[in-house]
Homo-oligomer: 153 residues x 2
């Protein structure tokens, strides 16, 4: 599971931390979920984020994988709720549209745009990490847009 | 989400508690999962169970429902891991086979068998609660069987 913490007070937003929540191999589903919860709670304590954005997934070719992903999503949502974070969900299409301007962009296009928009010295090449940064960026942009709209109306 | 706590030290096992984890209506997914975790943690503290058995589901006609169920399952598995409980998973077919003797039994047959096997004064008519009792009973039977096999070999 990829994660990213972005500071939205700078322009462009700054990546504070990102990576993969490592889960031990050859463990049970419950142990895997415990490792995810422990890691997320550690990140929430360390950085004190105020918002949590996560991918919304409806379909997956592999039902078994889809169930495992949904279980991890449930645990992540629980950690966010316990941490008092506001929660937002975005579909992959919304994320691609927000980051690249087109909902049909591929992963490489998203990664190139992240490098450009966030002025990264090195591109993010791990798919799960790039996805997490893209989702966080999408949420920052949506929140800014919402506040501009609210201020204007 | 139905739950049931059974005492396996008596014969037949005795239902200590069973019911539905109530979740508030019109709340977000994160708030729903938080309510489930809080309720399960309360039950684990109150009864101090040693084992946790849950339904294993691979398919659901409604993908949206399947995802919500898997998220709740993830939270339940996390609570079990945090509580130090051993975790077991059973498919609906395994549960029906264990309780009624046939994997194709319908819900009414399962409910009638639960009444008979557990010497219930009143039948359990709520599907989710009956499912939870049936899963717990399946686990007790499986654990007894395993211990008999282990003692004999």
């Amino acid at each position: 599971m990829g994660y990213a913490l972005l500071d939205h007070s700078t322009d462009p937003p700054r990546i504070l931390d990102c990576g993969i929540v490592e889960t031990p191999r050859g463990v049970t589903a419950a142990e895997r979920l415990l490792a995810i919860a422990t890691a997320l709670e550690h990140l929430i304590r360390e950085y004190g984020p105020t918002a949590f954005a996560v991918e919304r997934l409806y379909f997956n070719k592999n039902v078994r994988t889809a169930m495992a992903v949904a279980e991890a999503r449930g645990v992540a949502l629980l950690c966010a709720a316990r941490g008092g974070l506001t929660v937002a969900e975005y579909t992959p299409q919304e994320v691609k549209l927000s980051v690249t301007g087109t909902g049909g962009a591929d992963k490489k296009q998203v990664q190139r745009m992240l490098s450009a928009v966030l002025s990264l010295e090195a591109p993010i090449t791990q798919d799960n990490v790039a996805d997490a940064v893209a989702i966080a960026l999408t949420h920052i942009r949506r929140a800014k847009w919402d506040s501009v709209v609210a201020a204007a109306t």
